[in-house]
Subunit: 213 residues, 2 copies
Amino acid sequence: MPDLELVTYDWVPEPPRGFVRDLRIRWALEEAGLPYRVRSTPFDDRPPSHLAHQPFNQVPWLVDGDRTLFESGAILHYIGGRAPALMPKDRHEEITQWLFAALNSVEIATMPWGFARFMGRDKAEEPWESMTVPRLKQVDAALQGRDWLAGDFSVADILMADVLRFADRFDGLAECPACRDYLARATARPGFVKAHDDQIAHFEAGDAARAEG
Amino acid sequence: MPDLELVTYDWVPEPPRGFVRDLRIRWALEEAGLPYRVRSTPFDDRPPSHLAHQPFNQVPWLVDGDRTLFESGAILHYIGGRAPALMPKDRHEEITQWLFAALNSVEIATMPWGFARFMGRDKAEEPWESMTVPRLKQVDAALQGRDWLAGDFSVADILMADVLRFADRFDGLAECPACRDYLARATARPGFVKAHDDQIAHFEAGDAARAEG
């Protein structure tokens, strides 16, 4: 019986499929070779107990025995602590730095930018356009001449690659060849492929359950 | 001679003063009682060496001997590792979780929201209005019945309080009494007061240098 339980929605609409944040955690657990099970929590009619695990009413969270942990960055940091191959001791601070950077320097820009694109806002009037494209070019510069962010592949690469996937979805990497190469390297890994397939299958099973329901 | 060096701009325009992210680090170093010095890097005409320390051309970064570290969340985590009073071992994962939450669940919403308000955008047309106000109410619910996020005052409180200060600046805490009380408790601490005063004085010294220059 696996001791790790990853909790995600039972179902989501089509657009976010393949991008729900449990993917980051599935990917890390696959890379780490840690056994885990996935448990569903309702997307519609979220029970009050949801907030006890995730105060922002989102997913995922991870249960490890008596411990429950939310925030994808924090969960990746925790998995890195259990899987030294994904966060070697001598790179601990550097990898932590890139975990924060992926979220607070990159995703904090790509999220409102992608959202504006998704809403079909006029690029010329959209301040995030002029902030996010240069930010992605800075990631591109940081990636030049290296395969991964901090030595070997680590939890920071899982997070940065997943953040860049979202930017790529809205064609944000057009001028970022190093980011595109990095993303291709990351998403070719069997751990990503399995995590992605499993998430898609999980929500398809949710479709089937709703059709029956 | 202090072994910790905090690097920030030599000068910034008026609006961000009191909110430049070196404040979070000054505050933590004051709370930790760790000796440090502050070094300036040019705000105008940033030298290429800036990018070697901070790939997004921002501040702050922290130098500790041979190590240089950027990202305010990562630096706070690092200081917590050196100052167990701010990140006790038995609360390590919980505090890490709240560090990430302050940035990736709260600031990721308040940043585009505050920016839209700063630009004078119409609230009714601004999607961040309908996302950010409920998010802040979730923080309010999480804070109810406790003084601090994870046991005693920790680096997570430094980060969350600083994120909430930004929301408060644009009157985002009007419906969040627990956040307002929390913020009042946090900013009454001598460590915050000194950090804030020191940042203001630092940029005023920058004004004087420019006037002479």
